[in-house]
Symmetry: C2
Subunit: 234 residues, 2 copies
Amino acid sequence: MNEKTLHKISYGIYIICSINDGKKNGQIANALFQVTATPQVIAVSINKNNLTHEFITKSKVFTVSVLDEQTPMTLIGTFGFKSGKDTDKFKDVSYKIGKTKAPIVLQNTIAYLEAKVIDKIDVGTHTIFIGSIEDSDIVSAGQPMTYEYYHKVKGGYSPKNAPTYSGSSDKKTIQKKEEKNMEKYVCTICGYVYDPETGDPDNGVAQGTTFEDIQKDWVCPVCGATKSAFTIEE
Amino acid sequence: MNEKTLHKISYGIYIICSINDGKKNGQIANALFQVTATPQVIAVSINKNNLTHEFITKSKVFTVSVLDEQTPMTLIGTFGFKSGKDTDKFKDVSYKIGKTKAPIVLQNTIAYLEAKVIDKIDVGTHTIFIGSIEDSDIVSAGQPMTYEYYHKVKGGYSPKNAPTYSGSSDKKTIQKKEEKNMEKYVCTICGYVYDPETGDPDNGVAQGTTFEDIQKDWVCPVCGATKSAFTIEE
């Protein structure tokens, strides 16, 4: 058994949204595929601890936004590392209400789908929801962000409730470089790694900026933690 | 509704194998994801018309080979466009028998998984099999082939029984170029498109070779059809 084998499965990165009693919520997911072509049906795996799981279970609808490669870590952080239980994830995010009445995130979205749950299967910590496509459209011409791109180029992690979360071994997928005075810092909240070599250009931190030299009010681009939440990566 | 939306979902390319009564079979699949991390469980969508579906249903085991980017079209053709009902797909292909007794294709494989079916869900034309990982390993350091790579770089199609098959519209995903005397030819059996611009280097046809100039005994790299099965792409 080799735990790294599962890292070889290819995924995209999606925001799955739903509604419940007029409230809206959404979350990052990667475990999504088309299951049949006629009719058009998709499947998505959602963690039972997530608020979106409760919403989909109750409203029986969900939407899928396919994110592009330019998606900033802040958007992934908001939908992937924060809970709708204590955050309004749609504040400052462009979205629209779909035919199913569920919200559809439009920011950094190249395409979206709306689905009605026609079946589901309990798989322990997660439920696989089977959804028939009610509506879909292409929004922009961008390149879909793959999970590999998110890991390698963006330095991103799996949220704890993701099917692909693998605890500390997840860290090892990020390449280590032996550079003196250019140490990497890891966010103790979400696991995001600040790498001076790449900086955080999305948030005004140029390539080559050491962690110490980042402005004081900079926050983790994934989960919003302050600089004090960071420690040197072992 | 925009049919092209579903093309924005990211996938890898896998060979799924199983056994039944001492017979082995395998097929190409792309609809595969990890559903839970603890325990390690995956899900794969398989068309009911495929022999592999019958084998998995009966033996309750399957293996997954993650293919690399160097995978030749012939391997995809054998496992994706031929039926185990009338072909021994394992002839001339390197494989081993796994712990579950099912075969594991090793050719162009970067990693493999063996799974025991713990549940399944009927989704019309397909069944989603839920499998707990019994064994897994990394075989080589290659790059996993993504479905996008297969489409764009290899010029590949979806087999008719794939969840992602979309008939004629599938053709439109391949870029059209307006070049005189460099017309593309499409295989009427499997839909593979011969593009003179890319040639078929895997099989000794250099870039820039017009369809007419390909040697007579050349066959479709995907399904093995002869040159006479090709027509000019509209």
